[in-house]
Symmetry: C2
Subunit: 335 residues, 2 copies
């Protein structure tokens, strides 16, 4: 039997921890025979959750961590002080090579800081972007960077483009992914200072399939697979996506409630509509990878259910099997 | 009889020129007895369009402009070379005081450049932002700046906040409008360098009702009336709004076509849904004002129909009556 791939999972992070987290780990183990999950957190709580399920006991292990970092805590301080928190313990498992990846639905700030300070960057990588998959009419696209390090420089964006391409090609399975830079027009001379400096560097980069600028209007239509931007812009895009979609769905729901005819109409379309709109959520894709680390860190939404946790764990298996960190290291070091 | 308010209108600009433009001007004159429209463009074309309608002939005048600036032309060059274009002639009417405002659905770049170079800035105004009204569940909000001048400085953003507040209070009729700055979190210490520098300046500004940071997720829910940002960010927000809404509406339409039951359901909800979604378009609001100029310049969407032209003309009347340019001048000069 070939060696198992170990994935550490933050059992204490997120709104639905530990219930949905433990459930997601069990589901992953039951679906993927190559994975072993290390559930990090308070062992008594995890043990009683695990008691609910049937699974191969040799492939789920509990790693004790007595503390929990909450969303209200200042990330740097929390990572420094809470040495026995599930995030710090989980990151250390990655650092020490005991796990190939760490999945957490906990505090985004703490996960980003922990990734940088503990898991550590690949040599040559200057910044470690957080890169969620966003839904488009053409399938998921990688929005890189949406993390905490704003005011990036052009060479950072070039590294994002390379790492994002490797991820989309190998983990998501998009061959020769189209890379575009977010801009306010499609002409080459358009943009702010950062985009104008970055554009020619991307154009000259031999390792990527650069297709030019993308206006935000075209992002939801799937015109690019790897959408490169600085983290402030990425954060605005990610959250506005969620906001506009949420507000529109509320509007549609209200319209359906306006009279008996629309209520009947609503009943007739409900399941079809739900199915269509579900293509416009990211749950099925798992969480957002933080790229450029020694090992993978995946941040899932704070409201994650078991399906996102399971998918993030399966994503981690592919990441390890395809040796993405090594590919990134080779690609960055040939600069 | 009190004096008429003259509004210059670019009869040649936009996808539906001159037909919808001339129609919009006629509708405005028929609705608002205080307005006189100066239709700028090729007089033979305009004359034959006007022949279709009934209206008070003393309140529509044709101002000849033989040239047309297209969307493909480089804006600065076009404004400099095409002295007899409808945009240049219209801007000169504002500069010379013959019109209080100029409305155009033509090239955004040329309108922005023409506004700055010809109409001229109010003394003390450093940048003249383009500020479209965007739809939210709480009514329209002003997104300022979405123009062409990226990489703004903190004091520019403070001026945007002041001008935007005056516009929303006096033209749109929102008393004590809530001003927020676009940010990647709501805590005061969050943001990129620009936001971190601007935040305390806005907080200290006595003339505005500053409510702090707004994450883009909350924009569609109407948490602020004046949404301040640098033009690159504003452009990304404006176009993504359009993109996500468009892609989602396509998705809903597809869902309704999936089988006979959903088609029946779709027929039952159609008019109610259309009405609800129309609240999520900006047509009824007219175009985007370019603020800080001596006079008003309004840029409407390239695909504008008569209703947007009419509403932009009516908006211009309010702007002139309430002496917004004078209010901005006073407010900026007390800095």
């Amino acid at each position: 039997m070939s060696e198992l791939i170990s994935v550490a999972v933050d059992a204490m992070g997120g709104d639905n921890a530990p219930l949905e987290i433990v459930k997601g780990a069990v589901e992953a183990v039951n679906e993927e025979p190559k994975v072993k999950c290390l559930l990090v957190g308070q062992s008594d709580v995890i043990t009683s959750e695990l008691a609910k399920y049937q699974f191969d006991k040799s492939r789920i292990e509990i790693v004790e961590a007595s503390e929990v970092i909450t969303n209200d805590e200042a990330p740097v301080m929390a990572i420094r002080r809470k040495k026995d928190s599930s995030i710090v313990v989980g990151m250390n498992l990655v650092k020490d090579g005991q796990a190939g990846a760490f999945v957490s639905a906990g505090s985004t700030g703490a996960v980003l800081v922990g990734g940088q300070l503990i898991a550590g960057r690949i040599k040559g990588v200057e910044r470690t972007p957080l890169a969620p998959l966003i839904p488009t009419l053409g399938g998921p696209a990688l929005l890189i960077d949406c993390g905490a390090n704003v005011d990036a420089r052009p060479n950072h964006l070039v590294q994002f483009a390379k790492m994002g391409s490797i991820y989309m090609e190998n983990v998501v399975g998009i061959s020769n992914p189209r890379v575009a830079i977010v801009n306010i027009g499609t002409e080459e001379e358009k943009g702010n200072a950062l985009v104008k400096e970055t554009y020619p560097l991307l154009k000259a980069c031999p390792d990527i399939n650069f297709v030019g600028s993308i206006e935000s209007r075209r992002i939801p239509y799937g015109d690019a697979d790897v959408i490169v931007c600085e983290a402030f812009t990425g954060n605005v895009i990610l959250k506005l996506y969620e906001g506009v979609a949420g507000a529109l769905i509320l509007t549609v729901k209200d319209a359906l409630k306006s009279n008996p005819a629309t209520m009947l109409g609503g009943a007739l379309i409900k399941s079809s509509l739900k199915k269509s709109l579900s293509g416009f959520t990211t749950e099925g894709n798992g969480g957002a990878p933080m790229l450029g680390l020694n090992g993978l860190v995946i941040k899932t939404h704070g409201s994650s259910k078991s399906i996102e946790i399971k998918n993030s764990i399966l994503q981690s298996v592919v990441f390890s099997e395809k040796k993405i960190s090594e590919k990134i290291a080779r690609n960055i070091q040939t600069d």
